[in-house]
């Protein structure tokens, strides 16, 4: 497969996973606006911004713990995260970039995937925050479900070649990074919060894990159990472990890159992230630090993938 095409499909999947994840976060956050106490709403905004590594539009005081979120209204924050064109990670920007990568790599994906994605883009393209603000949760739920649809259509129609692997790899890497990032934000914020349980239930809902939690642990909601489930349960599709394992699987399915062991670094990083969770997590004295290590592995995994398959030095590449 052409390296640039592999890169395009990989980025397509990353951006779409980002758009989907952020839509889910915002879907829950705008639901909070209806019936949650103010501190929980503020907590939610902070967590999203920290996860996306972004400052709210009103300034950088965020870091200084001044409560910017009490001042900024929900509309402004939602607009900033959803439609703001200068925000490269806003739902609209991420969808636009995912779709642009798909447009350039249309010959690598199925026609059904393209029309599905293009329809989603055409729906959102001309919208603004005021257009969705009567029922914002409906908009976010729809966007999220369109991206789920895309993933399903891909599963049903896409040829299982290298492009498929790179797409799945991109999705796994993005989801692993986002999940680790959101968990770290949650741990840090809740450590400083007055209520120890603040935000943990919504962590489950974000990852569609409420039912799973009930099945594994029963009705008693305990933060460390929620954390365990979201980090280390291999059966939960959005857990850090499951996404890291998915990345490892896709890497193993690729034909190894241009030279002998060209992808060794990438495989080692995926393996290391997996091992950290499998073997170190259960008795980790400092879970936050361990999660940070996992996060770092996944970020380096991204560079290693591109280094192995896309930006490799041509001097010692075999000619075929």
């Amino acid at each position: 497969m052409l390296s640039r095409s592999a890169q395009g499909v990989y980025w397509m999947a990353r951006y779409l996973a980002r758009a989907g994840y952020l839509s889910r976060l915002l879907e829950l956050q705008v639901q909070f606006l209806v019936d949650r106490p103010v501190d929980e709403i503020h907590f939610g905004w902070k967590r999203i911004y920290r996860c996306m590594k972004r400052f709210p539009p009103s300034g950088e005081e965020f870091l200084a713990e001044a409560d910017e979120f009490a001042l900024a209204d929900a509309f402004t924050l939602a607009d900033d995260l959803t439609f703001e064109r200068s925000n490269p990670d806003s739902v609209r920007s991420a969808l636009a970039r995912g779709r642009e990568n798909a447009r350039q790599m249309r010959h690598c994906i199925s026609g059904e995937m393209w029309t599905c994605l293009n329809a989603a883009w055409l729906r959102i393209r001309d919208l603004e925050a005021v257009d969705i603000w009567r029922t914002p949760e409906v908009f976010y739920a729809k966007t999220r479900s369109e991206i789920h649809n895309f993933v399903g259509v891909a599963d049903a129609t896409m040829y299982r070649g290298a492009a498929w692997r790179f797409m799945r790899l991109g999705r796994a890497v993005e989801r692993a990074q986002l999940a680790a990032s959101l968990l770290r934000a949650q741990m840090e914020l809740s450590r400083r919060a007055e209520r120890r349980t603040l935000g943990w239930a919504s962590m489950l809902r974000t990852h569609h894990a409420l039912e799973a939690y009930g099945r594994v642990y029963g009705a008693d909601m305990q933060p460390d159990r929620v954390l365990d489930l979201l980090v280390a349960d291999p059966s939960l599709p959005g857990s850090v472990l499951a996404t890291v394992q998915a990345a490892a699987t896709e890497l193993a399915g690729l034909d190894g890159g241009p030279g002998v062991d060209a992808d060794a670094a990438a495989r080692r990083l995926a393996g290391r992230a997996e091992a950290l969770i499998l073997y170190d997590w259960p008795e980790a004295p400092a879970p936050e630090e361990l999660l940070e290590q996992v996060d770092r592995c996944v970020r380096r995994l991204h560079d290693a993938v591109l280094g192995a398959f896309v930006d490799y030095p041509i001097e010692d590449s075999p000619l075929r």
Binding site: M1, L2, S3, R4, S5, A6, E100, R103, Q104, R106, H107, G111, W114, T115, N118, A119, L122, A162, F166, L254, D255, G256, G257, P258, G259, F309, V310, I314, S317, P318, L319, R320
Partner: protein, 462 residues
Amino acid sequence: MFVAEGAPREHCRAIYEALRKLPDDHLETIQERVTRSFSQEGITFTVYGDEEAEERIIPVDCVPRLLALAEWRELEAGLVQRIRTLNLFLADVYGECRILRDGAIPPDLVLGCPQYRLAMRGVSVQGDAWVTICGTDIVRTKDGFRVLEDNLRSPSGVSYMVANRKAVKAGLRLLYRNSRVQDVENYGSLLRQTLCELSPGGRPDPCLALLTPGTYNSAFYEHMFLAHEIGAELVEGQDLLVNDGFVYMRTTSGLRRVDVIYRRIDDDFLDPLVFREDSLLGVPGLMNAFKRGNVALANAPGTGVADDKSVYAYVPDMVRYYLGEEPLLQNVETRLCRRPEDLEYTLDNLESLVVKRVGESGGYGMLVGPHSTLEERDEYAKTLRADPADFISQPTLALSRSPCLIDGRAEPRHVDLRPFVLTGAETRIVPGAFCRVALRRGSLVVNSSQGGGGKDLWVVDL
């Protein structure tokens, strides 16, 4: 469609009647559906200098243009003869130059043409297929088909031929079925077959690549579409490199040799070592690999000399010269302003002529006399006098018109057609064309870049 008001041509009668019987708003519904399907599938074209409309849809009219199979066969024979001739001409002017020495064409016209590539002198091309893909613009006048332009560099539009067919067929299912329309959707497989025949040294199972200038190019949709159809990698210059006279592309499993390149970038940008050195789109060393016969380029560099608007005037003479036959397809009567008597005639008759710049295409830089103002003509005459050799003039044609659905009503609009001719080991043509419509009432300019639209052409066996 009509011989006279309300009197359809023989092969159009059944379809005309069927269309007439459709309920009033039915065609409009179909039209809407066709337009929507283009938007959803992202079948787009970029118009230069129009920032907002980066991805614009070519408006498609859902009423098909009809051609009888017998008429098509006639046209086809003419196209085959013409393209054979043009390939012989190219082999000649980059080889022995017989036609120039014999004085059948003024040598300075050819050798002085900006599209004449010195780098191609003495180069032989696999099977003498210089022009692998040709898109000839044909108009129909009251005297029959006329060639308006041979597009021998990298003609575009074929993806719209297929897309228009798909969309219109889905809208007019029953009518399509009953009309025995000739199929065009195998174009991709014919193109693949043709390109494979160019494989250097007949290497089996050649690796094909389509070289695009990139996603900002107006025809990017087409490049993507064709790469998909022919199973080629869609590459940009940055994906390719030349090593030891062979071309390779960077893949996820190392460098892979490329055998045939269907290039959709101009000669000028192909290879910075030979042509424009500031080109970032091309591949350094590509021409060397090509000359050594290690990679095939379709079309070969230098073909532009044969579709130059001045050289065009000599194509009928070329047919006689190379084949000893009378041309089956006629040109539009063309005056070369480089000849003093033609210049004088052109200046005297500006208000009735169409004047074009030799080096321009896409409908840019032309004057349509009958639609121009006195000031425009005066202005144009000045530039014309300054450099007469840069201009040709043609009579304003009474182009054939075809009914189009405009605001819910059928109205006549001017049309032309661009059939695509493929040349590999043999010549192949699908019975269809990208049919262009001048959507503005009375307008004669059909170019997509000038607000023209598309139509499906049905070659019917009725």
